[in-house]
């Protein structure tokens, strides 16, 4: 009888008050790439954490190569050959590559034989086609290279199953292609890969089969050939999404925002552009093109120089800190939600209060009643799903966290809104809501700068697109010119 390579049978897991997984059965074959999809909170990470020994299931069994396994801790899972590469890579940044690859299993023979580890690491890296010096400190590598180190580390442990949690979220197009090459090589070696991603295009490119979870239940499974993009989305969301990229804003002729020769030293050189009232102005480019720094610079969070900056006819003289930007009606919905947007350990009401305190407080008294009212109206207006405004932000899903960030800044009634990667890591339903918010804000006459690495959304939502390459504008596209192809050409400096 043929045995299934990995079989997780009838897995059920509850957390206080939540049924995270409801008898889910998950199986895959040797050398297979399986995409695991679902909205945030669907149970993907719980399933992975059970597979990797972080959690133990309440009910259900795990069989690997036909043998029943009981993973009591991550170490048990690693020893059995299950490796997880998390989005936040857990590498020792201060150690060289080879030390990371062999961390925890250095062969002991009167001390550590560094040159031996270096050799072994080099072999593994070469076999995978990675061009990384084993002696270099991991902290000096970029995200994509760090990911490769993590993969090498998994192989050094003889991993049979490698789980990749949103591996492409922070990669450039080119790096994504390279990762897919590597996944194909892993397949050839007989390694099974569980691939978690919000980007459906990638799933169709790299995976053999797909498993779709919703609300802790398996709602779909099968070969990818048997599914269309829309099938997967509809199964994930549990209802039909009519329009993935709603667009109904109408730009006016008046210029709302204008900069001349805007520079962020070292990142962005001499940019001049204007955004009209009601316009969604897209900013595209590869990772490292300077678009993130442009956002921080315009918001006063990074040092900048400029000849002129104008918001609704008001000249901005100095821009030394975000306070100057906020005073002049410019806000940034920051790219790194958890690092820059939120105080995770504080409640929804406190987070929303932060930039709005002066509305509800004088220096000697902060009215919690007014603050709560403010937060409750934000929760209603932006459809933030939370049991109460006193809920800690860290307990909300990614999409709802993002709505809190948007809410806290929009309540200042800004004129110019910069959204940096507003849909990163949030589920499909929440994405559509963010797009609608952008349209609604534009229709109130705001100027929207929409910075994103996801081309489909840039193409579908923007009225015009500015493309950056190495800190310079290489194209300003409008109308029919806005295509993924044109953007990519300009972003790689071909155009």
């Amino acid at each position: 009888m043929r045995v299934t390579f990995l079989l997780m049978e009838g897995i059920t897991k509850t957390f206080p008050g939540v049924l995270a997984l409801d008898s889910v059965t998950f199986e895959m074959e040797k050398g297979e790439v399986c995409a695991l999809v679902g909205e945030n909170g669907a149970g993907k990470s719980t399933l992975i954490k059970i597979l990797s020994g972080v959690h133990r299931p309440d009910r259900g069994k795990i069989f690997l190569e036909g043998k029943e396994r009981d993973f009591r801790s991550p170490i048990d899972a690693i020893r059995a050959g299950v490796a997880v590469i998390y989005q936040e890579l857990s590498l020792a940044e201060n150690l060289p590559v080879y030390a990371n690859v062999f961390l925890g299993k250095e062969p002991w023979k009167f001390g550590i034989n560094h040159s031996y580890l270096e050799e072994r690491t080099k072999l593994i890296l070469e076999e995978l086609g990675f061009d990384i010096d084993p002696k270099i400190e991991v902290g000096k590598l970029n995200v994509s290279e760090k990911q490769l180190v993590a993969i090498a580390k998994a192989l050094a442990y003889d991993a049979k199953i490698i789980v990749m949690d949103e591996p492409t979220a922070t990669l450039t197009e080119y790096e994504v292609e390279r990762l897919f090459e590597i996944i194909k090589r892993l397949k050839k070696r007989g390694v099974s890969v569980v691939f978690i991603s919000h980007r459906l295009d990638e799933i169709f490119e790299v995976a053999d089969k797909v498993v779709i979870l919703r609300d802790g239940k398996k709602v779909g499974e099968g070969k990818l050939e048997d599914f269309s993009r829309d099938d997967i989305i509809n199964l994930m969301v549990g209802r039909k999404i009519e329009d993935m990229y709603p667009k109904y804003n109408s730009p006016e002729d008046d210029v709302a925002f204008r900069v001349k020769n805007f520079e962020v030293p070292g990142y962005v050189s001499k940019l001049s552009f204007e955004v009209r009232k009601g316009e969604i102005f897209g900013v595209a480019g590869l990772v490292g093109c300077g678009k993130s720094e442009l956002a921080l610079g315009l918001f006063g969070a990074m040092k900048s120089r400029f000849d002129e900056m104008m918001i609704f006819g008001r000249k901005i003289g100095k821009l030394k800190s975000p306070i100057d930007a906020l005073r002049n009606g410019l806000v940034l919905i920051p790219e790194e939600r958890k690092k820059h947007g939120l105080v995770l350990g504080m409640s929804v009401v406190e987070n929303i209060a932060l930039p709005n305190v002066d509305k509800v407080s004088n220096p000697m008294y902060l009215s919690w009643r007014k603050t709560t009212n403010l937060a409750e109206s934000a929760v209603r207006k932006f459809n933030i799903k939370t049991p109460s405004v006193r809920q800690l932000v860290k307990n909300l899903s990614g999409g709802n966290q993002q709505k809190v960030v948007i809410g806290k800044y929009i309540f200042r009634e800004p004129d110019v809104i910069i959204l940096a990667e507003p849909t990163r890591g949030i589920d499909v339903g929440a994405k559509v809501e963010v797009y609608r918010m952008m349209n609604d804000l534009a229709n109130l006459g705001k100027a929207i700068l929409f910075i994103s690495s996801e081309l489909p959304e840039i193409v579908s939502l923007s009225d015009r697109v500015m493309v950056l390459h190495r800190g310079k504008m290489t194209a300003l596209l409008h109308g029919d010119q806005i295509t993924q192809e044109n953007i990519l050409k300009a972003a790689t400096g071909v155009m």
């Binding site: 800190s321 306070i323 209060a353 902060l366």
Partner: protein, 306 residues
């Protein structure tokens, strides 16, 4: 039951206090009598006031090691003026010294981008040295009679130091819970960068937090001087550690973002009760530090455990 456990996990000091009250209440017939309870409050008042200042600094993600030395320096400078018979001026100057050192700490941390531990370690050494130079190592004694009232007086049977402590307690509670300064201390401790990007002048608020800590060290010093009718150059040695312990026992985390004044009060009280109880039970004072250390470990372990 779960709720009760959760409450004590968040308020480790209160759990310890209740335990100690039951324990000491049985073991010593003098422990629960009113005069002993008032005595405990009087003894903890100076420590608690310093710890209240430390609380806002620790919540904001900082630490202030200089409180003991600032305590001493503001005491001896104030004392030299009090000796001339100038009560009000002496008090104001002492508080001014506290404010000065506090704002210097704040400036070093906020504008100088120094780690709070290092910055206040340096000012701790400097203030102690100033104290020794200023006094030549000798105590300063002999203050006006009226000044002694602050340390030894009573209103309706309640010692003045206890009243001052309660006033500071209420003020600081109000500051942390009902003003934006308090909100910002939590948000800076929770995520400084996100707070800055919300358009808040993080630097200025940090300076305010450390200044409050400096002023409260001086307030505490004034009470102790008035009670002892002297100012000693060795005042305040090790007070920073007691204050930090009280704050941590009160449920704050040294990484910032959590904690509260009421918790700190229970933390300070817990340590006062330990001292008092060991005295009543005739335990050698040599054991006091060990008992305190064990209590701190237990409290933090309890808090960590989920």
């Amino acid at each position: 039951m779960k709720r009760i456990m959760e409450f004590f996990r968040r308020n480790p000091a209160l759990g310890g206090l209740i335990g100690l009250y039951i324990f000491l209440g049985f073991l010593s017939d003098r422990f629960l009598i009113l005069s002993n309870q008032v005595n405990i409050l009087r003894q903890v008042s100076t420590q608690a006031i310093i710890a209240f200042g430390m609380t806002i600094v620790i919540i904001s993600g900082g630490i202030d090691l200089s409180v003991g030395s600032v305590f001493a320096f503001s005491a001896v400078v104030g004392a030299s003026i009090l000796k001339q018979g100038e009560v009000l001026l002496g008090i104001l100057v002492a508080m001014g010294i506290g404010a000065l050192f506090g704002s210097a700490n704040g400036l070093l941390v906020a504008k100088g981008k120094m780690q709070p531990f290092i910055a206040t370690l340096a000012t701790m050494a400097i203030a102690r040295s100033f104290t020794l130079v200023y006094t030549n190592g000798m105590p300063i004694t002999g203050f006006p009679r009226a000044f002694g009232y602050i340390g030894r007086g009573e209103i309706l049977g309640i010692p003045v130091p206890v009243i001052i402590m309660l006033v500071v307690l209420i003020t600081m509670w109000y500051l942390l819970r009902m003003t934006k300064i308090g909100l910002y201390s939590y948000s800076i401790g929770g995520n400084e960068e996100a707070t800055r990007l919300s358009g808040i002048r993080v630097d200025i608020y940090k300076i305010i937090f450390y200044t409050i800590s400096g002023i409260l060290s001086a307030v505490s010093a004034i009470i102790l001087m008035a009670r002892l009718n002297s100012a000693q150059p060795i005042f305040g040695l090790g007070y920073e550690l007691d204050a930090i312990a009280a704050v941590v026992l009160g449920g704050a985390s040294l990484s910032g973002g959590t904690g509260g004044i009421i918790g700190t009060f229970f933390g300070a009280l817990l340590m006062g009760v330990i001292n008092n109880g060991l005295n009543l039970l005739d335990v050698s004072p040599f054991y006091q530090q060990a008992v305190k250390g064990i209590v701190i470990l237990l409290a933090v372990l309890l808090e960590k455990k989920e």
